[in-house]
Point group: C2
Chain length 281, copies 2
C-alpha cells in the first residue's frame, strides 16, 4: 500500500484523492492546498485523509501527484524532484506536456517522473467540483514513457487503471499537437460563440430565451476557467495557432459560400464533416 501526496485539491486532484482511497490504491492520501479555505474544504469533503505542508507531504509520500495549474507545474515539478525520496515517483496531470518534459530532461531523478495527462474534466473547478468517478472510461495519456523507470511507469499505469482509464502512449510533442486539435481549440470555439451571442444580447434582450440544446452543448465549455485556460494557451500557443489558422480558413470559406449561394459546396462540406460519426457515438 502506498502513501500518495496530491498537490492541488481542485476538480482533478480532489477527484483523484477520493477514488485512489476508495478503490484501495492508496493507504493514505495526503493533500496539499494553496489556501486555508481550500484545505478546510478538502478535509470536509473527504478528498484527502490529511492535509500537510507541501514539503512534509512530498517527503512522506511514495507517489506524488501534481494537480496544480499548468503555469506553476514546471516549478513545482522541479521542487518535487529536488525534495522527494529518490525512490519516490512523481507524475503530473497537466494539459500540456512538452514544456514539462523539457524542463526536467537533465534532472538526476528524471526517470522517477512519469509525464501524464488524464483527459477528463468538467467546466467547473475547485474542491467543490471534485467527485468520484470523474475518470471512469476516459483516456489517460502517458508521454515519453521510455524516459521513466519501469517501476515508476508501472505504478502510474496501475493508478490510472484503478481510476478506470484507458491508457494511450505518445511522445510529448505529439500530445501537445493532438490536444490542441481535440481539446484546446474546442474551448476557444465555445468561448468565442458565447462572446458573439452575449454581444448581440446587448441590443436584442430576448435572444437567449431561445437558446436550446444544440447551443447549450456547443457553448458549454465557455463556462470554463479563464485563469486555467489562459495558461494552457500560453503553454501550447504554437500548436493552437496552427489549428486556429485551419479553422478560420474553413469557417471563412463556409461564410463565403453562404454569401455566394453555393449550397452544393456546403452540402459536400457537411457530408465530409459527418464522418465524425465514425469516431463519436
Amino acid at each position: 500500500m502506498r502513501k500518495v501526496a496530491i498537490l492541488g485539491m481542485g476538480l482533478i486532484g480532489g477527484s483523484v484523492g477520493i477514488d485512489l482511497k476508495k478503490r484501495g490504491f492508496a493507504s493514505e492520501v495526503i493533500g496539499v492546498g494553496r489556501s486555508q479555505a481550500n484545505i478546510d474544504r478538502a478535509l470536509e469533503l473527504g478528498l484527502a485523509d490529511k492535509m500537510l505542508s507541501k514539503e512534509e507531504a512530498i517527503r512522506s509520500a511514495d507517489i506524488i501527484i501534481l494537480a496544480v495549474p499548468v503555469n506553476i507545474l514546471v516549478n513545482e515539478l522541479k521542487y518535487v524532484l529536488d525534495t522527494m525520496h529518490p525512490d519516490a515517483i512523481v507524475t503530473d496531470m497537466g494539459s500540456t506536456k512538452s514544456k514539462m518534459v523539457e524542463s526536467v530532461k537533465n534532472h538526476p531523478l528524471r526517470k522517477r517522473y512519469v509525464a501524464s495527462h488524464p483527459m477528463a474534466g468538467t467546466e467547473f473547478s475547485g474542491p467543490n467540483a471534485a467527485f468520484s468517478g470523474l475518470f471512469d472510461n476516459k483516456v489517460a495519456i502517458i508521454c515519453d514513457k521510455q524516459n521513466s523507470d519501469s517501476d515508476a511507469l508501472a505504478s502510474i499505469e496501475e493508478m490510472y487503471q484503478i481510476l478506470g482509464m484507458k491508457l494511450l502512449y505518445m511522445d510529448a510533442i505529439s500530445h501537445d499537437l493532438h490536444a490542441a486539435y481535440v481539446s484546446h481549440v474546442s474551448h476557444i470555439t465555445s468561448f468565442v460563440l458565447g462572446a458573439t451571442v452575449l454581444e448581440k444580447e446587448k441590443s436584442e434582450k430576448a435572444i437567449l430565451t431561445m437558446a436550446g440544446g444544440g447551443f447549450e452543448s456547443t457553448v458549454r465549455l465557455a463556462k470554463s476557467s479563464p485563469e486555467m485556460w489562459s495558461q494552457i494557451f500560453e503553454q501550447n500557443g504554437e500548436n493552437i495557432v496552427e489549428v486556429l489558422n485551419t479553422y478560420i480558413d474553413k469557417i471563412t470559406i463556409f461564410r463565403d459560400k453562404i454569401k455566394e449561394g453555393d449550397y452544393e459546396y456546403l452540402k459536400n462540406f457537411m457530408i465530409a464533416a459527418n464522418d465524425i460519426k465514425r469516431i463519436l457515438k
Copy 2:
C-alpha cells in the same frame, strides 16, 4: 377531439405524432410520408394511426402540421391552404419563419395559419429517430400571432403545451435573426471543427483516440443532416452571414492575441464569455 394530419414522418413529425395521440390532444393522427419505406416504418413504429395521401389527409384534418424540410415548406403551405377545409388550422415546424409568413401574406386563409418553431431536435433524422418526450421542457416560438385567428392560435398554443413546451412570441424577422445566433451558427462551428480535426487525421492517425468529453459536446452537431442544414442556410443566409462576420472577427482576434502573447486580453475575453453561465445551467 381533433383529427391531426402530419406531413412528414421524420424526427419532428414522428415525435409530434406519438405524443399528440398518447397525451389525448388528437383523436386520430393521420400521417403523410414521402416514400413507401418511410410510410411503412411510421406505421410500424406507431407514429400515426394511419397513413393517407397528402390530399386525403389535408381534407380530413382539423389541424394540419407541416414537418417537412424547409426548402419545400413554402410550396406545401400554399398547397395546404388551397386544399384544406376553410375552418381547419395549419402550422409548420420549420427553423426559419420570414419566408413562410411572407409567402402567404395575401392568401385568403392566412389567418388559419400559425407560424411556429418548436426548438427541439437531435442530430439524428428520419422516422427511426422519433421518440416520445422530444419536446418536453423545450421552447416553442410562435411568430406574428396577430396575423392568426384567435381560435387557431389557441389550438396551436394548447398543442405545444400538451407537448410540454414553453411558449415564446416574436415577429418572424426577429425569430430568424435570433435563430441564426442561438441555433444555426452553433451548427456551423461544429461542422467546421469536425472538418478541421478530420483533415488533420489524414496525417496524424491517432489524433481522435484522444477525443474526450469537451470535444464531443462541441462537435456533436457536426453529425447533423447536410441536406436539412444546407436548406436552412439558404433560407436564413443573410442573418447567418451577419453572425459569422462577428464570430470570425472575434476568433481572429483571439488567435492574434495568442500569437502576441497577450494573455491578459484573453483572460478578460474569457471572463466576459463566462457570463453565459447566467443563462445556461
